[in-house]
Amino acid sequence: MPDKTINGVSISVDDDGFMTDHSQWNKELAAALAEEEGISLSDGHWKVIDYILADYAEKGTVPGMRRINKVGGIPTKELYALFPGGPIKKAAKVSGLPKPTSCV
């Protein structure tokens, strides 16, 4: 696994820059990871991150758009405004979680 230095800290990441050891994650790191995506974290972003982290702890998978919307209560349009481009992928990255994948 490649390592990467961010905020003066060395973290383990995969080839796409997603963290592979969540124990290394903290809020300061989240802000730095977000900055790399051109995102400055606000309360709205933290609402998404907190929900994704709680859901991942319960289910073991990063929730999809529908679940964040229906269960997490965050409208899809808002999700796109907060994390433009690929909201689930970017929110997972900033949360220190794995990239959403299929089976292959």
Partner: protein, 422 residues
């Protein structure tokens, strides 16, 4: 007399019924299986119907034929489960009490979940192949195809058989070449994920396939609506993909009965212990196959391996013993890559698909993550195995429910999970 009730007589439900009738004491336990449809479909065959490789009669047989003696088969529509009362209500008002309930009601496409999907283009130049009727209609449309933009599209994850859309574009590529229509056809693959391949090892090995076959990939596309007037799909962030023929995989959801019973998540999948297959909400309800929310593929091979675990756990549960068996997420799937070749995948919750030989190390005869003619032949031969061995509940030689590292070549950098340490 106690009751074991199975809802759904598809792959998972049928295998469970046949395992239970062989192992349970039928003087003490009455086994009943309920399904609303009389036809059992060989679902892997739906992929082949649009290209004329399989005909309708290749993929359909009566459900009853596959449920052995000693099981009550009931053709009826389930209204709801009343889990607190341990009973199931049918739509005809009949009430079925149970001591143990197995939910095997699967998943189905729900095109109505996407704005405009069932509009004027539906069934004409917007199709799906995840149902028998859909695959039949698409075969008819493809038969008249003269060229244009053919778009394969996935609405949202999870979907049944996640490799099927990829197989579709590979088969379409070789089918179009044979017909002399490839030059006139643009093939586009649209996915909500970050790419057609998302697992690191498979991506490295297989990503060149799409370029080689000149298939364009559109990533991170979360559909908002289908525009039936302009014939295009539009994403939430207002990107557009125009189509002459859209082959979509609609949102896959669990049975609406699950929702009526208050037992499902936002997609009507049932929260299930991914190792024991016991419902998280009720200890006498077990869930198998596509109906669970387990984080592995929704596929027949998974249902088959889960059944081997579940039969042992249910036997223990009925004796008041702790559940002994743990499902590891094992899936074993062929990928048709076109031109009479295919790949084979073997993976579980903890280990992504890797190269190697299957089932025998160094011998195979199947090759993992490698394109071979034999893998394609294996996929075609599987239909016989499905009808004659899998559904009756006969063991498949050398393929166990627990995935092993035997025969696998673990690439450098891939961490072997502790659960698989040899």
């Amino acid at each position: 007399m106690k009751n074991i009730l199975i809802l759904g007589a598809g792959t998972a439900g049928t295998i469970m019924a046949n395992q239970l009738r062989k192992k349970m004491n039928l003087e003490q336990w009455k086994i009943t299986i309920v399904d609303k449809e009389g036809d059992h479909y060989y679902q892997p065959g739906f992929l082949f119907m649009p290209f004329g490789i399989y005909s309708e009669s290749d993929v359909v047989k009566p459900k009853r034929r596959f449920v052995g003696a000693g099981v009550d088969y009931l053709e009826a529509d389930v209204d709801r489960i009343e889990a607190e009362q341990n009973q199931v209500f049918l739509k005809n008002g009949e009430c079925l009490p149970y001591d143990v309930l197995i939910v095997a009601t699967g998943t189905a496409p729900v095109p109505e979940e996407t704005e405009g999907m069932t509009g004027a283009d539906w069934g004409k130049n917007v199709h799906e192949f995840y149902t028998f009727e859909g695959a039949k209609a698409l075969a008819k449309t493809l038969d008249g195809w003269q060229g244009g933009r053919l778009v394969m599209h996935i609405c949202e994850m999870p979907i049944k058989c996640p490799v099927a859309p990829l197989e579709f574009v590979f088969l379409a590529d070789s089918w179009l070449r044979k017909r002399g229509l490839r030059e006139q056809t643009e093939l586009i693959y649209v996915t909500p994920l970050s790419g057609a391949f998302t697992k690191p090892v498979a991506s490295k090995i297989l990503s060149g396939l799409l370029e080689e076959k000149q298939i364009e990939v559109v990533n991170d596309f979360n559909i908002g609506s289908v525009d039936n007037e302009e014939h295009k799909i539009v994403s939430w962030d207002e990107r557009e993909v125009a189509y002459d023929l859209l082959v979509t995989v609609p949102t896959n959801m669990g049975d609406s009965m699950v929702e009526r019973s208050g037992l499902g998540d936002e997609l009507n999948f049932i929260p299930t212990d991914k190792h024991t297959l016991q419902s998280k909400a009720h200890e006498n309800i077990f869930v198998i196959g596509d109906a669970t929310d387990a984080p592995t593929s929704k596929a027949g091979s998974v249902a088959h391996f889960e059944a081997e675990v579940l039969i042992e756990n249910i036997m223990a549960f009925t004796k008041g013993e702790p559940l002994p068996e743990k499902f590891d997420g094992h899936a074993n799937c062929f990928i048709e890559s076109g031109n009479g070749k295919g790949f084979l995948l073997d993976f579980n919750y903890d280990l992504e698909p890797v190269p190697g030989k299957f089932p025998l190390p160094g011998i195979g005869p199947m090759s993992l993550l490698t394109e071979t003619r034999l893998n394609h032949m294996g996929k075609m031969a599987f239909r016989w195995v499905y009808w004659n061995m899998l559904l009756p509940g006969h063991p498949i030689p050398m393929v166990g429910h627990r995935m092993t590292l035997t025969g696998k070549n673990i690439p450098e950098g891939v961490k072997i999970p502790e659960s698989l340490d040899a």
